[in-house]
C-alpha cells in the first residue's frame, strides 16, 4: 500500500515553511524518524522526520518550495519495492482507483506513443534532468498549471511535460528528450524557476539543449494529431514562424499589464504604497469598484503599524539615512531566524514593561563540589554545568513563586498559571539565537538536565533540532558567563514573564562580619514583566535563587 507523508504541524501559528533541501529521493528506503526534508520556518531550520517507513515512490517537493502544513511531501510504498506492488496489482484484483489510473495511463500511452511496442534503441542508458528552459524576455519563473506526465511514462521528444502560466501566456513545455520518466519534481500549483529540474528521464539518446522558445498551447494542440506523419511539414511551418517572429514589428506582446486583476489605483497611489512597503494588491479600495485612494493606502499602513501593538501607537517611523554618503556599505538580506528574532524581540520590548533586578550568588562552595564531581565523571556529557544547576534551581523557584510561571492575557484581563516547568536555554549558534526547551526541569536531576541541555545545544548548532524542542518554555536562562561581563538586562522572551541572565563569576572580597574574605560570586540579572510581577516579588525570587545556589538544602526543603 502506498502512503502519503504530509508536513506535520510545526507549531503555533506556523502554517508554512521553505524547503531548504530534500534529503530523500525516489527509490530510497526510509525508516521512521529519518529526515525527509530540511525546512526553514520563521523560528528555526529543522529537519522533518518521517513518521512512516518504506520505499519512497514519489517526492513531491523540491528545494525552494514553500510547503504548507498538511501538504503531501512524499509518497511511500510501505510494502517495499514499487515493482513488486505493480505486479501484485496486476495479478490480484485491481482496486477501482488503481484500475482507473492504469487505464488512463494506458490510454495516454496509446495516444501519445503509438509505436510503444517497438524495441527501444540499444545503447547506454543515462539519466538526464530536464530543466525549465528560458521562457522569454524577463520571465524568470512560471506557475505550473498542470503536470502532463507521471513517473513511469514513456515520453517522446517534444511531448508536453508541464503546462505553465507566465505573465504573458499559458504554454506547454515540451520535452527535449525521449525516454522513461523516473521522477517528477514539479507539481501543480508550484512555481518553477528557469533552470529548475522538472523531470528526470532515463534515456538512451543524446539530449538537445532545451529549446529557447516554447510554443503557445493552442498551436501545439493543433499540431498534435498530425505530428507523426507531418513532422516535416511542422518543421517547415516552424521555420516560417521563426522567420516571422524575427521580423515582427513592435506592438504584439508589448503592452504593460493592465488586465482584469490590476489594482485600480492612480500612479501616485501605487507609488506611495511602494514607498511605504505595502503591496498595492493587498490594499482594499473604498472607491467605486474598489478604487484605491491615497487615504486607503495610508489607512492600510497605519492599521498594520497599529496591529503590531498598542505601544507602537504614536511612534513615527524614522527613515533610514543614506549611509553611502559617509562611506562604503553593503546590504545583506536578513536570515529567516534574524527576521523573526528582530520582530519577536521588538514586540516583547514594546509590549512588556521591563524591569531588571540584579543580585549575586556566592558559588565558592558549589564550584568546589561541582569540580570534584566532574573529575569523577567518565564522559564529558555527564559533566555538571552551571547552566544545568541554574535550570534546576529556576524550576524549583517557579514552584515557590508561581507568578513567575505565568503568561498574561491582556485581552481577557487574565493571568494564565502553568502547572509544568519547562526551561528555555538560549543557545548562540552560527545561524542565530535559538532557545531549545528542557521539558519538566523540576522533576529531573541536575545530571539529567546537563545531558539534556548538551544534547539540545548540539542539535541546535547542527540544525537538527525539531520544532517541538523549541516550544513551550515557561522561563528562560541566558548564560553569557562563558564570554564575560558583570551584568546585563535580558529581554523577556514573551509570552513568558521572566528571564534569568547569567554573567561571569569572579572572586570578590566579601565581609563575613570579621574580615574580608575572597568569595567566588556569580552575578545574576532577572528581567521581569512588571504587569504581573512586582519589584518586591522579583527581589524575593532572585534572592531565593541565590540562596538555593549557596545552600542546595533549600531545594530539598522548599523546592
Amino acid at each position: 500500500m502506498s502512503k502519503e507523508f504530509k508536513l506535520p504541524e510545526l507549531g503555533e501559528n506556523i502554517e508554512s515553511a521553505d524547503v531548504i533541501s530534500v534529503l530523500v529521493k525516489s527509490g530510497d528506503k526510509i525508516e521512521k524518524e529519518q529526515g525527509i526534508i530540511e525546512i526553514e520556518t520563521d523560528k528555526a531550520t529543522v529537519e522533518v522526520p518521517s513518521s512512516i517507513e518504506g520505499t519512497v515512490s514519489e517526492v513531491l517537493v523540491k528545494q525552494g518550495d514553500k510547503v504548507k502544513v498538511g501538504q503531501v511531501l512524499i509518497k511511500v510504498d510501505e510494502n517495499g519495492k514499487e515493482e513488486e506492488q505493480k505486479k501484485e496489482t496486476e495479478k490480484i484484483e485491481e482496486k477501482p482507483e488503481e484500475k482507473k489510473e492504469k487505464a488512463k495511463a494506458e490510454k495516454k500511452d496509446e495516444k501519445k506513443k503509438p509505436s510503444q511496442e517497438k524495441p527501444k534503441p540499444k545503447g547506454e542508458k543515462s539519466i538526464v534532468e530536464m530543466k525549465l528552459p528560458e521562457l522569454g524576455e524577463n520571465i524568470e519563473s512560471a506557475s505550473v498549471i498542470a503536470v502532463l506526465v507521471k513517473e513511469g511514462d514513456n515520453i517522446e521528444k517534444d511531448q508536453g511535460v508541464i503546462e505553465i502560466e507566465t505573465d504573458k501566456a499559458t504554454v506547454e513545455v515540451p520535452s527535449n528528450v525521449r525516454g522513461k520518466v523516473l521522477e517528477v519534481l514539479v507539481k501543480e500549483g508550484a512555481k518553477a524557476k528557469v533552470g529548475d529540474t522538472l523531470i528526470k528521464v532515463e534515456t538512451s539518446e543524446e539530449v538537445e539543449e532545451p529549446k529557447p522558445e516554447v510554443k503557445p498551447k493552442e498551436e501545439r494542440k493543433k499540431e498534435e494529431p498530425t505530428k507523426k506523419e507531418e513532422k516535416k511539414k511542422v518543421e517547415e511551418k516552424e521555420g516560417t514562424k521563426e522567420e516571422r517572429k524575427k521580423i515582427q514589428l513592435p506592438g504584439k506582446d508589448d503592452q504593460p499589464p493592465i488586465t482584469k486583476g490590476a489594482a485600480p489605483a492612480a500612479p501616485s497611489v501605487r507609488r506611495l504604497a511602494r514607498e511605504l512597503g505595502a503591496n498595492i494588491n493587498d490594499i482594499p479600495g473604498t472607491g467605486p469598484a474598489g478604487r484605491i485612494s491615497l487615504d486607503d493606502v495610508k489607512a492600510y499602513v497605519k492599521n498594520i503599524n497599529e496591529s503590531v501593538g498598542a505601544a507602537g501607537r504614536g511612534i513615527k517611523k524614522e527613515e533610514l539615512l543614506d549611509f553611502s554618503k559617509f562611506g562604503k556599505i553593503e546590504r545583506k538580506e536578513m536570515t529567516g531566524i534574524r527576521q523573526k528574532t528582530a520582530q519577536h524581540l521588538s514586540y516583547a520590548w514594546m509590549t512588556i514593561p521591563h524591569v531588571t533586578q540584579y543580585d549575586k550568588a556566592d558559588i565558592t562552595e558549589l564550584e568546589k563540589v561541582r569540580k570534584e564531581m566532574n573529575q569523577k565523571a567518565k564522559d564529558n556529557k555527564d559533566k555538571l554545568t552551571m547552566t544545568a544547576i541554574l535550570a534546576k534551581v529556576s524550576a524549583s523557584a517557579l514552584k515557590v513563586f508561581p507568578q513567575f510561571n505565568s503568561s498574561v492575557d491582556m485581552d481577557k484581563n487574565e493571568i494564565i498559571y502553568k502547572k509544568y516547568s519547562h526551561i528555555g536555554i538560549a543557545v548562540d549558534t552560527e545561524n542565530g539565537l535559538i532557545v531549545p526547551v528542557i521539558r519538566n526541569a523540576d522533576i529531573k536531576n541536575m545530571t539529567e538536565l546537563a545531558k539534556d541541555i548538551n544534547n539540545l545545544a548540539e542539535k541546535a548548532r547542527s540544525r537538527k533540532i525539531s520544532l517541538d524542542d523549541l516550544q513551550g518554555a515557561c522561563f528562560t536562562i541566558t548564560n553569557l558567563g562563558g564570554i564575560g561581563g558583570t551584568a546585563f538586562s535580558p529581554i523577556v522572551n514573551s509570552p513568558e514573564v521572566a528571564i534569568l541572565g547569567v554573567s561571569r563569576g569572579s572572586y570578590e572580597p566579601v565581609y563575613n562580619g570579621e574580615e574580608f574574605e575572597p568569595r567566588l560570586m556569580l552575578p545574576l540579572s532577572l528581567s521581569y514583566d512588571h504587569r504581573v510581577i512586582d519589584g518586591a516579588d522579583a527581589a524575593r525570587f532572585l534572592r531565593w535563587v541565590c540562596e538555593a545556589i549557596e545552600n542546595p538544602m533549600k531545594l530539598l526543603v522548599e523546592g
Partner: protein, 471 residues
C-alpha cells in the same frame, strides 16, 4: 557627497535620465556619438518623420479641398527646401537639448563607450582620443538599430532603410515598402503624398500586426486608394539591382512568384538591440535569447550598479517608454523605492488616419481569455469629424463588464495620437466608464468620441442610437 551616474546613449531615454539625475544633484556624464543629444528619435526617427508627415497631410488635404469647392493647383515640390526644413526642425530640437546639457552642467562626451569591467568604461572620443572612465552607476541607453533580412541586403543606393528614406534622395516613381508595420506605412504615406506610386508587401495577413483589426480597417481602406498595391501574406524572395531600379521577386498569397521593378525599395522590418561593442561580456549584465538586456522592475541589470533602459531592454521600442524607464532608473539610483510599472504605454501610428491604442487590446483580451465588452463610437456620428470631412474613424473602449472599469482604448482617425492621452490617464487612474461618461468634454471636438463611447456602453449616447442590449 553627490551620487555619480554615467549614461551611455543620449536618445530620449538617455537624455531624460541624465537630465533628471542632474536635477537631483547628481554628478552626471552623458556619452553619445552625436554632437547633441537626441538619438534615433530626434535625428533619424520620430521628429523628422513627423515633419514630413505633416507636409504629406497638407498636400493630401489641399487635394481633398476640391470636394469643398476650393481648388489648388498641383503643388510644386522643392525637395531640397523640404529636406532643409526637416533638417532645421531636427537641428532646432537637438540644439535645444545641447543648451539644456550646459544649463544642467552635465559632462557630455562625444564618442562611444564600452565596458572594461563593472565600474570602468573605455570611451573612444570622436576627436580620436581614448579615455578610461570610472563610474559608480551606469545606465545603458544605447538603443536599437535597423534590422535587415540578410539575404535581401543587397548593396544598392536604391535600397532604402528608415534612415536613408528620411533623406529624400529623390521622389521615386515607384517605391516598394517591405514590411507593413508602422515605420513602413508612415514613410510610405510620405512618399505617396509626394506623388510616388507606393506598394507594400507584408508577410502576415494584415497591416500593422498587433493592432486591433477594426482600427486598422479604416487605414487599410485609405491606403488601398492612395497606394498602388497592398500585398498581404506575401514575401520578397529575391532582389537585384538593375538599370534605374531594383528587380524584385515576390512570392504572393497563392505562392506565385511575381517579378517587378521598382525605382526604390524601402526595407522596414523592425529594429534590434544595439548591444554589440558595449563590452557587456566584461560585466555581469545578461541578455536574453533575443539579445535584449535583462532588467528587473527597477531597470537594474544583473550587475547591480548597471541599469539599462529603452529599446535595448526590449519592446515596445518607443521613445516615451524609454524616457520613463530612464527616469525610473535614476530615481532608483537616488535611493527611492520605485518601479517601472505603468498600467499602459500608448502606441501611436502616425499614418493618415492615425491609429493609437493603450492598455488591453481586443486581440490580447481574446488571447488571454479575459472577459470584456467593447463600446464603440464611429466617427461618422461625430459632428467635429464631419466638419473635417473625415468620418473614417472610430473610438473604442475595452471594458471590464463586472466593474465597468476601462481596460483598454483604441482610436483610429485624424489626431488619434493626441486623443489617446486621455485614455492613458483614465487607465492609470483606474477610471470606470461612468467617470468617462460624466467628464464634460468640449464641443465640438473629436475628444467627445471618448465620452460618447462611454455613453454607448450604457446605451445612452446622444448621437448614436444603440440601446443597451437586454440579456
Amino acid at each position: 557627497m553627490p551620487k555619480q551616474v554615467t549614461v551611455i546613449g543620449a536618445g530620449p531615454g538617455g537624455y531624460a535620465a541624465a537630465f533628471l539625475a542632474a536635477d537631483l544633484g547628481m554628478n552626471v556624464t552623458l556619452i553619445d556619438k552625436e554632437k547633441n543629444p537626441g538619438g534615433v528619435c530626434l535625428y533619424r526617427g520620430c521628429i523628422p518623420s513627423k515633419a514630413l508627415l505633416h507636409v504629406a497631410k497638407l498636400i493630401t488635404e489641399a487635394g481633398e479641398a476640391k470636394e469643398w469647392g476650393i481648388e489648388f493647383a498641383k503643388p510644386k515640390i522643392n525637395l531640397d527646401r523640404l529636406r532643409e526644413w526637416k533638417n532645421e526642425v531636427v537641428a532646432k530640437q537637438t540644439g535645444g537639448l545641447g543648451q539644456l546639457l550646459k544649463a544642467k552642467k552635465i559632462n557630455f562626451i562625444q564618442g562611444t563607450a564600452a565596458f572594461l569591467n563593472s565600474s570602468t568604461l573605455k570611451i573612444k572620443k570622436t576627436d580620436g582620443k581614448t579615455e578610461e572612465h570610472k563610474f559608480e552607476n551606469a545606465i545603458i541607453a544605447a538603443g536599437s538599430k535597423i534590422a535587415t533580412i540578410l539575404s535581401l541586403d543587397i548593396k544598392s543606393k536604391r535600397l532604402l532603410n528608415s534612415t536613408s528614406a528620411l533623406d529624400l534622395p529623390e521622389i521615386p516613381k515607384r517605391l516598394l515598402v517591405i514590411g507593413g508595420g508602422y515605420i513602413g506605412l508612415e514613410l510610405g504615406s510620405v512618399y505617396a503624398s509626394l506623388g510616388t506610386k507606393v506598394s507594400v508587401v507584408e508577410m502576415l495577413s494584415g497591416l500593422l500586426p498587433g493592432a486591433d483589426r477594426d482600427l486598422v480597417s479604416h487605414l487599410a481602406k485609405r491606403i488601398e486608394k492612395s497606394y498602388e498595391k497592398v500585398m498581404l501574406d506575401s514575401k520578397v524572395t529575391e532582389m537585384k539591382e538593375v538599370k534605374n531600379g531594383i528587380e524584385v521577386i515576390i512570392k504572393d498569397k497563392e505562392g506565385k512568384s511575381i517579378t517587378d521593378t521598382y525605382d526604390y525599395v524601402l526595407m522596414s522590418i523592425g529594429r534590434k538591440p544595439r548591444t554589440d561593442g558595449l563590452g557587456l561580456e566584461n560585466t555581469k549584465v545578461k541578455v536574453n535569447e533575443r539579445g535584449w538586456i535583462k532588467v528587473n522592475k527597477q531597470m537594474q541589470t544583473d550587475d547591480p550598479n548597471i541599469f539599462a533602459i529603452g529599446d535595448i531592454v526590449g519592446e515596445p521600442m518607443l521613445a516615451h517608454k524609454a524616457s520613463h524607464e530612464g527616469r525610473t532608473a535614476v530615481e532608483v539610483i537616488n535611493g527611492e523605492k520605485v518601479a517601472f510599472e505603468p498600467m499602459a504605454i500608448p502606441a501611436v501610428v502616425f499614418t493618415d488616419p492615425e491609429i493609437a491604442w493603450a492598455g488591453l487590446t481586443e486581440t490580447q483580451a481574446k488571447e488571454k481569455n479575459i472577459i470584456y465588452e467593447t463600446a464603440k463610437f464611429p466617427w461618422a456620428a461625430s459632428g467635429r469629424a464631419s466638419t473635417l470631412g473625415r468620418s473614417d474613424g472610430v473610438t473604442k473602449l475595452i471594458v471590464d463588464p463586472e466593474t465597468e472599469r476601462l481596460l483598454g482604448i483604441g482610436i483610429c482617425g485624424p489626431g488619434a495620437g493626441e486623443l489617446i492621452a486621455e485614455g492613458v490617464l483614465a487607465l492609470e487612474m483606474g477610471a470606470n466608464l461612468t467617470d468617462l461618461k460624466l467628464t464634460i468634454h468640449p464641443h465640438p471636438t473629436l475628444s467627445e468620441t471618448i465620452m460618447e463611447s462611454a455613453e454607448v456602453f450604457f446605451g445612452q449616447s446622444s448621437h448614436l442610437h444603440r440601446p443597451k442590449r437586454k440579456y
